[in-house]
Structure formats: structure tokens, C-alpha cells
């Protein structure tokens, strides 16, 4: 699934340490979808969640980037970005 930087400007970022290919302008959540990753976090109640509204309204697809939670559906992926899952518990400080 992972390829070196391509002619289309594609790049690699990581999700919980796993390399994922992204394209400039592509949201983190979309790149994850293309890579076959649909569950992006586990709720404090223990259920898996992914993108739902796809336009920044529902906050279901939040992920951790640089110790902040961001909406993966409206936050662009970028080369080398380190993204991780929220796994239960309290959400990190926004």
C-alpha cells in the first residue's frame, strides 16, 4: 500500500506507526479510507468509530496529531505527519 513519493506528489505519513499514502489536499481520514482503514478511534465506551458526516460537523473521526485532536475528515494529510488513534479514556486536551 505504501509507495515512495509518486509523480502525483503523493507522500507517506503514519497512523499509529503504520505508513499510509497521502495525496496533497487529501484529508487524513480519506487517505486512511483509501488504505482500507475505516476505524480511526475507540470511544471511552469502547466502540469503534470512523468518519460519519465527512464535513467537519460530527467530530466522530477525531485523531491525535501533535498532541491535539483534529477532525480527520477536514484536516489535510502532509508528508511525515504523525497521526495516532484515540483509544478510549478521556480525550486529550484540545
Amino acid at each position: 500500500m505504501t509507495e515512495p513519493s509518486g509523480a502525483d506528489g503523493s507522500f507517506t505519513f503514519t497512523f499509529d506507526g503504520v505508513p499510509v499514502r497521502g495525496v496533497p489536499g487529501q484529508a487524513i481520514g480519506a487517505a486512511l479510507l483509501v488504505a482500507g482503514i475505516r476505524s480511526v478511534r475507540r470511544t471511552p465506551g469502547g466502540s469503534e468509530r470512523g468518519m460519519f458526516c465527512g464535513m467537519g460537523v460530527c467530530f466522530d473521526c477525531i485523531v491525535l496529531v501533535d498532541r491535539s485532536t483534529v477532525r480527520s475528515c477536514v484536516t489535510s494529510a502532509s508528508p511525515g505527519l504523525v497521526v495516532s488513534r484515540l483509544d478510549g479514556g478521556a480525550h486529550a486536551d484540545r
Binding site: G29, L33, M55
Partner: protein, 471 residues
């Protein structure tokens, strides 16, 4: 603080047309959108030359976007502020003070608008059903946004369900991009259109668009099942199947007809809810729309709200689609610019006539695609209604029947519905429906959880940092 003559919030069809119309006479027009480029949800697209385009282009709307974008770029009066959120609006004697924050964090700022046009658009109305929180379930608008804007398909084997012509549009786009669409399950039947033939007759473009989409679905062998609803999504950690049931002409479903279809993704679309928070913050009068579902902003013939210097256009005045939004936007832009001189706008009669025709069609659409009347019976006691706070149906029922809650606000304070990240945008409608059904009180726009001081959640850090220094 920076001052502008006319500030337009939202750069979808209504906002782009507003800004261009205002720029005919106003000298300093600012067009703000949270997206990285103009276009909004309707004209959602990847950047030019991006490899994110997948599937065949399904319509000619991109040409319209290119033209509007070129006009905006050519205008010396219009400044576009992309990737910017208006997180709060404060009323002024005339116009408003808008509080801005960059999407993705950064320095906040304020902007004084002598006149403001609110054109923030809408988001999908989501109805909770068992399993709707599983990864692989998306709103129809969300699935479309991921496909058109980001080159991502939500699944390989998909069903599209809910009501309204948008379902067909999404199904055609998904199929065109290579997904197998196992079926479109439309809750209503086309016979509901019989009473609205005059509205269709004066909007032949809509008829042609419908016929074109129907042809596309046939080409991709996508079956459309009228009078069917998806009542449940099954799966452990992601979507594995859906339960489909037939519904009768009154919208009651028959569980005896239930069957399972194995899929890996589901698109649900039940219509749209407008983003009225900024209008509410500014004190604009609101009311429930024709369907009784959505809180919308009241406007006069020149798209004026009840607040001086505040105008509204597009979905925020009633869900009506891109064409109605565009014409309302033109009128609002002209009116906002004219208000700077204290004069009424000069609006051509054909423009007003087009708005009337588009509204007529929107009303027919609303009547032809009602929600199933007993959709709350699909909820089990453990079905999560508030996704953010993971509040099940049983907790809402307990708040009402055991703890005596008789309105949405009391339910919220007792069981936390609408208190999470989305501030009730996803569950407010469902909770309102459950409460009004239980108490027998008629639904009122005052019950809706749209009365939020902060229109878009922003970080405490951004708030604490305060506005940028005056420059």
C-alpha cells in the same frame, strides 16, 4: 479591528453569488469559508491538476464553478478568506462583528461588517438506527464529499438509503467511481409527486437531471427500491450487513418483510439541516420550515433578516438546493450592498420570478420526501442516539418518563444528549422527535439545540490567545 462593507459567510452557491452581486456596487466585500477553496459542499472538488479526481465527472457543475471562481478572482472588490471559521458573531447596531479563527488552529481575529450575508449552508440530517455508529456508515453528503473532494470511496459494496433525490446522485457517483452499489433504498414512492406536477412542469431542468441520473444508475445496474428503508446496520467493529424493510404508503415499515444484505458500507441521507447558529447568535428571527424538521431563518423579499444589516441566503432560509441558493444569494448580495446607501436593492423581475419558481419546486420536494412517520420505533433501548456522549435511547426515555423531563434542554441536562463535541448537531433532531412524541407537546423551533453561543467548537488555547494585534 478591520472593517468591511459586506461580509459573506459561506462560499457555496449562495455565498459566491452574494459576493459577486454585492461587488457590483460595494467596494470592499469579504467572502469567508471554512474550506480551502470556494465552492462549498455542492461544488466540492479537488484542486486543479490533483490526482484526487476519480471516476467519470457526473455533471457539468464544475464548469459553473470555474466561471464563478474566475469572476471572484477578477473582482477587485472581493477578498476571499479560505480555511477560516466564523466561530461567533456579535450583533452591532447595523451589521455585525464576526470572530474568526483559522481552520486547524492559529491566531483568531475580528472583522466588523457594515452588512453581512449569512450563507453557511447545511449538513446532513442523520436519523439514529441500531448500528449507525459503526465505521463504514456515513451520511450521504459525507460519502459524496469524500469521493468528490478527496478521491476516497467509503466502501466497495455499498447501499444508499434514506429519502430524496440526493440519494440517486450519490449512488451514481459511487457507482461511477467503481463501487458496487447493491441498491438504493428510497423510503418514499414516486407516486407522491403526482400532486406536484405543476412544480415539476416549471422546473424542466430538474426533470432532465433526474432522468440523466436514472440512466446512469441503469448503466451501472444499480437497483432502486422505492418504499424501502434500512432499519438496522449489523457488524461488530465495522459494517457487515444492513437490514432492509418494506414500508407502506403511510411510511410505517413492516418488520415481516425484513431481509439482510451483506455490504461493507452504508450511506444514509434523510435530507439536510441548515447551519443557523450565527443567525441565532445575531438575534435573527427563526421558525420551523415547511416540513417541521429544520429551524430556518425568516427573511423578507430582499433576503433581509429581522436584524438590520443582516441578510441570509440559501439553505439557511429553508432547504432548497443549489439553484434556489444561487438566486437567493444574488438578491441578498444586491440588497446588502444597497443597504450601505440606505436604499432598497434593484432586483430584476425575472430574478424574483426565478426565486419563486425554485421555492415552489423546493416545497414540492419537501412534500414528496417526508421522513417515515415511525422511524423512532426502529431504535432499540440500547441504540446510541447521541454519538458524542454515547447516550442510548433508554437514557432519554428514563429522563422523560422517570425523571420528568418535558423538553430537550431538560433531557440534555439529565443524560448529556447534545453536550459533546458536535453540540447536538447530530442528535438534536432525534432527541426533539422523541421528546415531542412522548410529551405530546407540539414541536417548536425554540426546542432546538441551535442556541449555542459558539457556532463552531474552537480550542480554549485559541480563545485564550485572543485576537491578532491591530495592524
Amino acid at each position: 479591528m478591520r472593517t468591511a462593507d459586506v461580509v459573506v459567510v459561506g462560499a457555496g452557491p449562495a455565498g459566491m453569488h452574494s459576493a459577486l452581486a454585492a461587488a457590483r456596487t460595494a467596494r470592499d466585500v469579504v467572502l469567508i469559508d471554512s474550506g480551502p477553496a470556494v465552492g462549498g459542499q455542492y461544488y466540492r472538488h479537488p484542486a486543479d491538476g490533483s490526482s484526487l479526481h476519480i471516476g467519470a465527472p457526473i455533471d457539468r457543475r464544475h464548469d459553473t464553478l470555474v466561471r464563478l471562481r474566475a469572476e471572484l478572482e477578477a473582482s477587485t472588490a472581493v477578498t476571499v478568506l479560505p480555511s477560516t471559521t466564523v466561530w461567533h458573531a456579535a450583533a452591532a447596531d447595523v451589521g455585525a462583528v464576526l470572530h474568526l479563527a483559522p481552520v486547524g488552529g492559529g491566531q483568531t481575529s475580528s472583522l466588523q461588517a457594515r452588512a453581512v450575508v449569512l450563507a453557511p449552508g447545511a449538513y446532513d440530517l442523520a436519523l439514529p438506527i441500531p448500528g449507525w455508529t459503526l465505521p463504514g456508515v456515513m451520511t450521504a453528503g459525507g460519502a459524496q464529499a469524500m469521493l468528490k473532494g478527496h478521491g476516497a470511496l467509503l466502501g466497495r459494496n455499498v447501499v444508499v438509503a434514506g429519502t430524496g433525490p440526493f440519494l440517486v446522485s450519490v449512488a451514481a457517483a459511487l457507482a461511477g467511481a467503481g463501487a458496487t452499489v447493491a441498491g438504493v433504498f428510497e423510503a418514499n414512492r414516486p407516486t407522491r409527486w403526482a400532486r406536484h406536477l405543476p412544480a415539476v412542469a416549471v422546473s424542466p431542468d430538474k426533470l432532465l437531471e433526474g432522468a440523466r441520473l436514472a440512466r446512469l444508475l441503469r448503466r451501472h445496474r444499480v437497483p432502486v427500491h422505492f418504499g424501502h428503508v434500512v432499519t438496522q446496520v449489523l457488524g461488530t467493529d465495522a459494517v457487515e450487513a444492513v437490514v432492509v424493510e418494506r414500508s407502506d404508503h403511510r411510511g410505517s415499515n413492516r418488520s415481516s418483510s425484513a431481509r439482510e444484505i451483506a455490504v461493507d458500507a452504508v450511506c444514509l441521507g434523510w435530507g439536510f439541516l441548515p447551519q443557523v447558529e450565527l443567525a441565532v447568535a445575531l438575534g435573527c428571527d427563526t421558525h420551523l420550515d415547511r416540513s417541521g424538521l429544520a429551524v430556518v431563518v425568516r427573511v423578507d423579499g430582499d433576503q433581509r433578516t429581522s436584524r438590520p444589516g443582516v441578510f441570509a441566503a440559501g439553505e439557511i432560509t429553508g432547504i432548497g438546493g443549489a439553484d434556489l441558493s444561487a438566486v437567493e444569494g444574488r438578491i441578498a448580495g444586491l440588497a446588502a450592498a444597497a443597504s450601505l446607501q440606505g436604499t432598497p436593492p434593484v432586483v430584476r423581475r425575472v430574478t424574483r420570478a426565478e426565486r419563486a419558481r425554485r421555492r415552489h419546486f423546493a416545497a414540492a420536494l419537501s412534500d414528496a420526501y417526508p421522513l417515515p412517520r415511525d422511524w423512532t420505533s426502529w431504535l432499540h433501548s440500547d441504540t446510541v442516539v447521541c454519538r458524542c456522549e454515547e447516550v442510548p435511547r433508554a437514557s432519554i426515555d428514563e429522563s422523560i418518563h422517570r425523571l420528568g423531563a418535558s423538553d430537550v434542554a431538560s433531557v440534555k441536562s439529565l443524560c448529556r444528549t447534545g453536550m459533546g463535541y458536535c453540540q447536538g448537531r447530530m442528535c438534536d433532531f432525534a432527541v426533539r422527535t422523541i421528546v415531542t412524541a412522548a410529551t405530546g407537546r407540539p414541536a417548536s423551533h425554540r426546542d432546538a439545540l441551535v442556541y449555542r453561543p459558539i457556532a463552531v467548537p474552537i480550542s480554549i488555547a485559541a480563545l485564550a490567545a485572543g485576537d491578532a494585534e491591530e495592524t
